[in-house]
């Protein structure tokens, strides 16, 4: 057996990690200022207007957005891996990222050709389309699954993967129709980014992600049962159909909101749960909250790297997470086993 850390230590370590990373994210940037710096300036009676603007209008919303997105993606990763009984399941394996991106691209092309207003009653159409297409992806998965007597995890997974491939073709198709000068904007979206300004995206993320995440956390005990044996879980009183429905819908909703606000950011739902599981074991009552915290911290850290890597401008965060996540995943494969998986 792998040695595990105690529940208290795991939560404590994850919380400490979050505090440190968030503090760093607020303090580090092109301008040398942080909360402490600000306090010192204020005590010295200097003007802090510029510093406060940078801190509260630029760095804080960005940090919060990265944290919320990372936390949501990691939590959904945990839940989907148990629900699909597969270590490769992530929010994106079900085609959600592909579908969301396809939606965003469709909106961009339609706007470009004057067929779609940029926003309708204040809702940006790119985000709305990303969300609607992701929702349609889940709906299709359900339609396929409900045609069968009992939707097995394998059927759900294969349907999602297939829809993801179809969505990628859709993306190619919209690229084909797009004006060449538009392709740069479009591709930038596909790389994901938390380079937001102001609190509207943060509010959308908070309202969309936080309640759904709390709800998802309540399914931990049932996911433990389901991961062990579907039939035994049913025998012990877990309503399997309701569990599948709840987790899929909540997971897709969380992912849909995140993809629509910050674009597809890959590998968070894979790297974080697998790393955390090695410390906490596979019990979801501990794994899920610790993954949530660590996912938030991880994406904040990636965002910091995106800002600090010395190149012109900054690197899109989706590229950073993939550059970290890809090799990490290969390492897991080479080592021959995923921590705490029966593979």
């Amino acid at each position: 057996m792998t040695r595990r850390v105690s529940a208290g230590h795991a939560v404590l370590a994850a919380t400490a990690l979050c505090v440190i990373v968030i503090a760093a994210s607020l303090s580090i940037g092109p301008e040398p200022l942080g909360p402490l710096h600000l306090l010192r300036q204020w005590r010295a009676g200097e003007s802090i207007e510029d510093a406060a603007y940078i801190l509260f209008s630029l760095r804080l919303p960005r940090t919060l957005a990265a944290f919320l997105a990372g936390a949501g993606l990691a939590l959904v990763g945990c839940a989907f891996q148990a629900l699909l009984r597969n270590p490769l399941a992530t929010p994106y394996t079900l085609g959600l990222a592909g579908a969301g991106s396809f939606g965003a691209y469709t909106a961009l092309v339609l706007i470009d050709f004057g067929r779609l207003p940029y926003s309708v009653i204040g809702v940006p159409m790119v985000q709305a389309f990303a969300f609607l297409f992701a929702a349609a992806d889940v709906l299709l998965i359900f339609l396929v699954a409900s045609r069968r007597a009992r939707p097995t995890p394998a059927v759900l997974l294969l349907t999602g993967v297939t829809l993801g491939i179809i969505a990628n073709s859709g993306i190619m198709l919209t690229r084909y129709f797009a004006r060449p000068e538009r392709l740069i904007d479009m591709d930038r979206w596909l790389m994901g980014g938390v380079d937001i300004v102001g609190y509207r995206p943060v509010a959308v993320l908070a309202i969309g992600v936080v309640p759904a995440c709390l709800w998802l956390l309540t399914q931990a005990g049932k996911l433990d049962q389901f991961g062990f044996s579907e039939e035994m879980a049913a025998g012990r009183g877990v309503n399997i159909t309701r569990l599948q429905l709840t987790v899929l819908l909540l997971g897709s909703f969380i992912t849909g909101v995140i993809v629509s606000e910050v674009g597809p950011i890959g590998f968070v739902g894979l790297v974080v749960p697998h790393t955390v599981r090695a410390f906490t074991g596979a019990g979801h009552r501990l794994l899920m909250p610790v993954s949530l915290l660590s996912g938030g911290a991880f994406l904040c850290l990636c965002d910091l790297a995106a800002r600090k890597v010395p190149v012109a401008g900054e690197i899109p965060i989706g590229i950073i997470t993939t550059l970290i996540g890809g090799p990490f995943f290969l390492y897991l494969l080479v080592r021959g086993r995923f921590a705490d998986w029966e593979t």
């Binding site: 057996m1 792998t2 148990a82 009984r85 597969n86 270590p87 007597a149 309540t218 005990g221 049932k222 433990d224 049962q225 991961g227 062990f228 044996s229 039939e231 035994m232 049913a234 025998g235 012990r236 009183g237 877990v238 309503n239 074991g281 596979a282 019990g283 009552r285 921590a339 705490d340 998986w341 029966e342």
Partner: protein, 265 residues
């Protein structure tokens, strides 16, 4: 109180027009081992799923102490009867102790973790099944016999009064097979009601108090005491094969043997 789980003239079909059970009756009573036997595909596992309320019969009814099983809330039902399916394949790496703790699910609130009382029950169930020594080992690294005993501890941790087990001795050697059945007989002696699906008619003859024999036609071919069920004509018809029954040289219980098909070398 002596619990009684009964299926009364139940019929079931997964697909319309292809019945898997026709007019079947079976009873599992506290203090006794009830064996469910029959050829492959005769509907034994299906009958077990009906008995533990995972499937609803198309007609007929399943009752627990006279009350329709469907009227129980699922977790309430799970505190009375526990189900051990065939071929449990966990996807997560768990220690034997963690596996047994999973059995506390019907007693633990949705948000709360297991309490110290729950952990104590789990330990007690492991001692009862002689698995306490291996509680820290990884479940999937255990031998088949150890794994089966841990699973048994895990359903005992539900603190049920009735146990329904689907082929708990499949893939076990003769020693471990007997070990599992001895444990089941002991549990029945302690007052548990046990319903067990098995292919080993000789073990069933030795350990079961009552038996139900399902036929290839998905109906009850015989039921009652092992001696009444394990008869040459009945078995041969139910299995569609030439089956011989003698007496066990040491125990005197029926000894069943399938003849090769006629004309075979």
């Amino acid at each position: 109180m002596n619990r009684c789980l009964a299926a009364e003239s139940v019929a079931f079909a997964y697909e319309p027009g292809a019945p898997v059970l026709r007019d079947v009756a079976a009873t599992v009573r506290g203090g006794a081992v009830a064996g469910i036997v029959g050829p492959n595909g005769s509907g034994k596992s299906t009958l077990l799923r009906l008995l533990c309320g995972l499937l609803e019969p198309g007609s007929g009814r399943v009752t627990l102490d006279g009350r329709p099983l469907a009227s129980f809330r699922p977790r309430e039902r799970a505190r009375s009867l526990a189900f051990l399916p065939q071929g449990v394949q966990p996807v997560f790496l768990l220690s034997a102790f963690e596996v047994v703790c999973l059995g506390r699910y019907p007693h633990v609130g949705a948000l709360a973790g297991p309490s110290s009382h729950d952990l104590e029950v789990a330990r007690r169930c492991m001692r009862d099944t002689a698995t306490d020594d291996i509680r820290h080992r990884s479940f999937m690294e255990l031998s088949g016999g150890e794994r089966q005993r841990v699973l048994l501890a895990s359903i005992l941790a539900q603190e049920p009064e009735l146990l329904l087990l689907d082929e708990p001795t499949a893939a076990l050697d003769i020693h471990h097979e007997t070990e599992v059945f001895t444990l089941l007989a002991r549990l029945a002696g302690d007052g548990y009601g046990v319903g067990v699906v098995t292919h080993d008619l000789n073990l069933a003859a030795r350990f079961c108090d009552t038996m139900v024999l399902l036929s290839r036609e998905h109906a009850v071919a015989a039921c009652g005491a092992p001696e009444a069920v394990l008869r040459e004509e009945t078995l041969s018809a139910a299995y569609g094969a030439r089956i011989r029954v003698g007496a066990h040289p040491f125990t005197g219980t029926p000894l069943v043997y399938a003849e090769p098909p006629e004309g075979a070398p």
